[in-house]
């Protein structure tokens, strides 16, 4: 029975409660001066990793929980939040302000980290609430050649390195079993993330945080996709009232429905 070495990637995104605005160039969403926080799905995976240790769920025990985030200098806040919630140490891959990574680049970055840190379980959010690509976990599993369990609503550990993951599907649940090492992505109903308490926030400031750059992993932020245009969804057109049945019929005829 091997001890768990969990890797929990996190992303700094625009806070869920903020209504995003499209920038003037119509190339993306305005991020300057907007409140940011940890991606809610990542928060679930942070919470789950800490709970696996606290509840002693893994028979082999948890040896290490490490978090990683790639983003501008402010992404450190998100890593510190994760550390305050109970993660042991963090890695910050610093990007320039405004530099964005595609899911494939992130997956390659995570693959290199998994190999360097000798992780055997990667717990990550199923998607980020800004790009909503929902690809990173799957791509990472593909690159590593590991089994994957997506949209987990329950994670259990069994005999001989087996992991049982329950996912909610239409009209029921589906349970998948795989052996470590594996990739698990988290869904909304997995748990309720905790609020970091002040003493833990203070302690988190002393936890180890390694700084790296993309070049350390032999990667660049080169993009394979090009965003052509970002627009607001169309505004809903209000309906109209008709006086009587005759009015309704003539309206329907006018619209060509009759």
């Amino acid at each position: 029975m091997s001890a768990l070495r969990i890797l929990v990637p996190v992303k700094r995104v625009i806070d869920y409660a903020v209504k995003p605005r499209i920038n003037k160039a119509m190339t993306g969403v305005e991020t300057v001066g907007v409140k940011h926080s940890m991606n809610p799905f990542d928060e679930l995976s942070v919470e789950e990793s800490v709970r696996i240790r606290e509840e002693k769920r893994a028979p082999g025990g948890v040896e290490d929980i490490c978090t990683i985030s790639a983003g501008p200098a402010k992404s450190q806040d998100v890593i510190r939040t994760a550390l305050a919630m109970g993660i042991d140490r963090g890695i910050h891959v610093e990007l320039k302000e405004g530099e964005e990574l595609e899911p494939l680049t992130v997956a390659k970055l995570l693959k290199a980290t998994v190999e360097a840190e000798k992780s055997n379980l990667v717990l990550l959010g199923k998607q980020s609430i800004d790009d909503d690509a929902g690809q990173t976990g799957q791509m990472l599993a593909g690159l590593l050649g590991w089994p994957q369990a997506t949209q987990a609503s329950k994670v259990e550990f069994g005999e001989g390195d087996s992991v049982l993951v329950t996912q909610e599907i239409d009209g029921g649940v589906e349970t998948v079993r795989a052996k470590l090492p594996m990739v698990v992505t988290t869904d909304l109903r997995l748990n309720t993330p905790r609020f970091a308490k002040l003493p833990n926030i203070m302690k988190a400031k002393k936890k180890k945080l390694d700084k790296k750059t993309l070049a350390d992993f032999g990667l660049t932020s080169e993009k394979k996709l090009k965003i052509l245009k970002v627009t607001e969804p169309p505004v809903r057109q209000g309906g109209g009232k008709v006086e009587d049945v005759g009015g309704l019929v003539s309206k329907l005829k006018e619209l060509g429905a009759l």
Partner: protein, 110 residues
């Protein structure tokens, strides 16, 4: 109409207005923990007390004719549930709000 079960009647009034109102002063049965009752909790209702109070009253009045003990007990359990929701700690409510927002955002039928 049969007279209501006095024990249950007292419990219903207790959860509505508080234990003081439910018992005559001679029969002092104020709970030591001072657990707040629905009418009191409504003072902080987001839409205002004037919105909350008639609605709470209506909710209780609509079942005033209930004489079936089991149904009353069910109603009491529901009142406890409503109370628990109103007294949930703010962090839990914050997460609940976020959870609901996200669920609705990604699943329009939810």
């Amino acid at each position: 109409m049969t007279p209501p079960n006095p024990v249950l009647r007292r419990q219903v009034i207790a959860i509505y207005k508080g234990y003081q109102a439910a018992c005559p002063p001679s029969m002092c049965c104020v709970r030591a923990d001072g657990y707040p009752e629905l009418l009191y909790l409504g003072r902080d209702y987001p839409l205002g007390y004037d919105y909350f109070r008639p609605r709470l009253h209506k909710a209780f009045m609509s079942k005033a004719g209930e004489r079936d003990d089991e149904a009353i007990k069910k109603g009491l359990a529901h009142a406890e549930f409503v109370k628990k929701d109103a007294t949930a700690d703010p962090f839990r409510r914050y997460y609940l709000k976020r959870y609901r927002t996200l669920r609705k955002r990604y699943d329009p039928d939810a």
